[in-house]
Amino acid sequence: MSEPFEPKIVAFVCTYCTYAGADLAGTSRLKYAPNVRIVRLPCTGRISPMFILKALQKGADGVLVSGCHPGDCHFTHGNYHARRRWTVFRALLEFTGIPLERVKFSWISAAEGVKFAEFINTITEDIRKQGPFDQYKQLIRDTESPATL
């Protein structure tokens, strides 16, 4: 019972900055929480809100979206588009009661291995504090239960 809750976190990252930043965290042998699973995409511009919803459906307690700092996008402005999209999507999540603590956004460059490691630790702790996303998981469980009427 007293096992600490291990949140499941899915990260959608661009390959040029944050993925490389995570690589740097690795080559620097920084240590961070093992709760995050990275999905590599070419650019933050490719990261659709659908991914976030599906990660939640797959049982994620938290989702992280990360890419290049403004101006650094390998594709020049994929991250600017993404930023607008996220602004709106966040408002939507908030309004429908999906806690924003569970869906985080960040800019992490290829040079920011330390930031990546620290960020994963912080977000993992934050979500650990939040606990499992029971409300959403209940919806998922409901789909798996037999008809009651």
Binding site: E6, V10, T15, Y16, Y19, A20, A22, D23, A25, G26, T27, R29, L30, K31, Y32, P34, R37, I38, V39, R40, L41, P42, C43, G45, R46, I47, S48, F51, K54, A55, K58, A60, G71, D72, H74, F75, T76, H77, G78, H81, A82, R85, A111, A117
Partner: protein
């Protein structure tokens, strides 16, 4: 519905120490669709790759997942191996269980579970990977070199000498860059101008090189092999075709007391001028901000004095559109303004100068014709203090990095001074002497031993004026005591910084830059002269501080990259590009607006009688760079990105 091979690499102990590879191999082997699952010490080794190939052939694999290091390391390796075994290379994915797992986690159980989930999700992805074939695009075999310093000139000459057209663009009125300003060069002490000017002339006269000076890059569009570049030819107000470079105008110009940029403010020039005497081309420009005519509408003395009427005040900026196949960026550097060190008194005391100003003083063609004279009173300084790292390696006020060349040029300055002012004394405050390079350490030893440069290890805390002399207070950390020197001149080894407009320019060209504004190479070790944008290469100090030999070497390296690109008429490009489902496209054009590359065009769908049925989006695979921004924008899910399709990502997430 698939036969996937999973290859789990121990990477020696790098993976195996933190991940139970045997357990992982067994667990993933139980996953539906996994036909073979094996572990091995080093899959990237030859025998490792051979075993992957063998498995592909033996089991008729339809996909491969290598669980190993980052795909940024060995994706290409394993994709090649797959191709050699007859499997389309894009049916291979890399699960990063080293950088993203074994190296960063301490709990073996948790790491093993994570590795399994990472691998499983990529197995699910690879099941949905499609065979992709490289896209062939035509290559315009004409290079653009941006920057007419030594790096740019070298790159241009190398490419031109191989027989390809080069457009060399320099924003100043003359080629030369910083190297033209230098007096002698280390470690040989040969005259900079003597080796530089012939190269400038060679570049200017080369039949394959089109030289555009006093010109700037306005816009870069397109993609590797097919760039469209707009160049702004700033108006010189001098007809380049007519001007013979006689220089009468410069002599006649009444505005003569303009501080010369080339001489770092130590000399003067006119409002119509060439940057320096050996300018290439030797054609003056009118400094419109200073010219009396442009300011007040009166004067025109230069025009009247010109024997061939080459001066034309009505010339406007012109724009050239040039088709380019490859771009070499060699935009160089600036030196940091050291005024932020109030304690050094730069800008306050005339005799506190920068290293580059010292170069001008020491240069035979400089304002003092090579005599070392104090700017304040034109007297010969008897004691000179050199302060190294005046900006470099100083996170608090300057820059964090080492500017790399200052140790060497300071030693050179001490030597030049010793050679010119016999009996003069030099004191050099330094942090470390970094003299790595062929003949470099010998050079600094010579400065100390033969030319009696006095090296003091320590920083200078203050420079002030006292009785017409500059008092330098520092500390000798080796002796552990404060030092005070009375000097006649203080020379600061200022930091090399990126051009002030480097970031803006990077965005114009479409390349990445680091926090300092130096341009990012695609890979620091393995692709040091390529930018992350295909077809754009980096030479010289725009990438990082470096000395002349390094700049020249890098320039030649970019030339070899360009020549490799130009060696074929067609270029094979990564097929990771978007494509549109025309049947479901609603034609809202959001993707067209969202595409950073203008790669999406409108396409009319006509019926047999030529009547317009509907308009849909159509992706030009030659322009598409594969960012996928359009895919996310598309509300009807009509556009998709090969290699990262919606199906693949869906499966990847669902496989986690």
């Amino acid at each position: 519905m698939a036969k996937i091979g999973v290859f789990i690499c121990h990477c020696g102990e790098n993976v195996a120490a933190k991940i139970d590879c045997t357990q992982l191999t067994a667990a993933i082997g139980e996953h539906p669709g996994v036909a073979v699952s094996v572990e091995y010490k080093y899959f990237c080794s030859d025998p490792g790759q051979e075993s992957v190939k063998k498995a592909i052939r033996e089991h008729g694999l339809t996909g491969v997942v290598v669980a190993a290091c980052s795909p940024r390391m060995h994706e290409a390796t394993f994709r090649n191996a797959c191709a050699e075994a007859g499997l389309n290379p894009y049916l291979c994915e890399i699960a990063n269980i080293r950088e993203h797992c074994s190296w960063v986690h301490t709990d073996k159980d948790m790491a093993t579970i994570k590795a399994l989930e990472i691998t499983r999700s990529l197995v699910e992805k690879v099941k949905r990977n499609n065979e992709l074939r490289p896209i062939e695009v035509p290559v315009t075999r004409r290079a653009l070199v941006i920057g007419g310093g030594i790096a740019g000139i070298q790159a241009a000459l190398d490419i031109a000498n191989a027989g390809h057209e080069v457009v060399l663009v320099e924003r100043e009125a003359s080629l030369g860059g910083h190297m033209a300003q230098l007096s002698e060069t280390f470690p040989t002490l040969d005259c900079s101008q003597c080796i530089m000017t012939p190269r400038m002339v060679e570049a200017a006269r080369h039949p394959k090189i089109r030289l555009l000076t006093y010109a700037e890059i306005e816009r870069v569009e397109g993609y590797i092999g097919n760039f469209k570049v707009k160049v702004r030819m700033k108006s010189r107000s001098v007809d380049m075709k007519k001007c013979t470079g006689c220089g009468d105008c410069m002599l006649k110009c009444p505005v003569k007391k303009i501080s010369s940029e080339f001489d770092c403010g130590l000399g003067k020039r006119a409002a119509i001028y060439t940057p320096f005497a050996q300018s290439v081309p030797n054609i003056p420009v009118i400094d419109k901000k200073r010219c009396t005519y442009f300011k007040n509408g009166k004067c025109q003395i230069c025009s009247k004095s010109c024997p061939i009427n080459a001066i034309d005040f009505t010339i406007e900026d012109e724009f050239l559109d040039i088709e380019i196949g490859a771009i070499v960026v060699a935009t160089g550097f600036q030196i940091q303004n050291t005024a932020m060190y109030g304690e050094y008194g730069y800008g306050k005391y005339a005799d506190v100068i920068t290293g580059l100003q010292f170069e001008r003083l020491a240069s035979a063609s400089g304002p003092t014709s090579g005599k070392i004279l104090r700017p304040s009173d034109n007297s010969e300084p008897q004691t000179v203090v050199f302060i190294q790292c005046a900006g470099s390696r100083d996170p608090s006020k300057g820059v964090r990095y080492c500017s790399k060349i200052c140790c060497m040029y300071t030693a050179k300055h001490a030597m030049l001074y010793a050679h010119k002012v016999h009996g003069g004394k030099t004191h050099i405050f330094y942090m470390d002497i970094r003299a790595g390079g062929k003949g470099y350490d010998e050079f600094t030893r010579r400065a100390i031993e033969e030319d009696e440069a006095s090296y003091v290890r320590g920083r200078v805390s203050k420079v002030w004026q006292e009785n017409g002399r500059l008092m330098v207070r520092g500390v000798d950390t080796l002796l552990g005591r404060p030092v005070e020197v009375a000097a006649d001149m203080v020379v600061l080894a200022t930091a090399i910084i990126a051009q002030p407009d480097a970031k803006e320019f990077a965005k114009t060209v479409g390349i990445g830059y680091d926090e300092y504004g130096f341009y990012n190479e695609a890979h620091l070790k393995l692709r040091p002269v390529e930018s992350s944008t295909a077809g754009i290469y980096l030479a010289g100090c725009c990438q990082s501080p470096k000395d002349i030999p390094d700049s020249v070497a890098q320039a030649s390296a970019t030339a070899s990259k360009v020549l490799a690109l130009f060696s074929k008429e067609q270029l094979e490009r990564e097929p990771v590009v978007a494509s549109n489902n025309e049947a479901t496209c609603a034609g809202c054009w959001g993707c067209v607006l969202a595409c950073p590359y203008g790669a999406i065009e409108q396409k009319d769908i006509l019926d047999r009688s030529g009547r317009l049925i509907k308009r849909v989006a159509s992706v030009n695979p030659g322009l598409c760079q594969g960012c996928g921004t359009c895919v996310t924008f598309c509300r009807s899910n009509s556009i998709d990105l090969a290699g990262f399709t919606e199906r693949q990502i869906f499966a990847e997430v669902m496989g986690l």
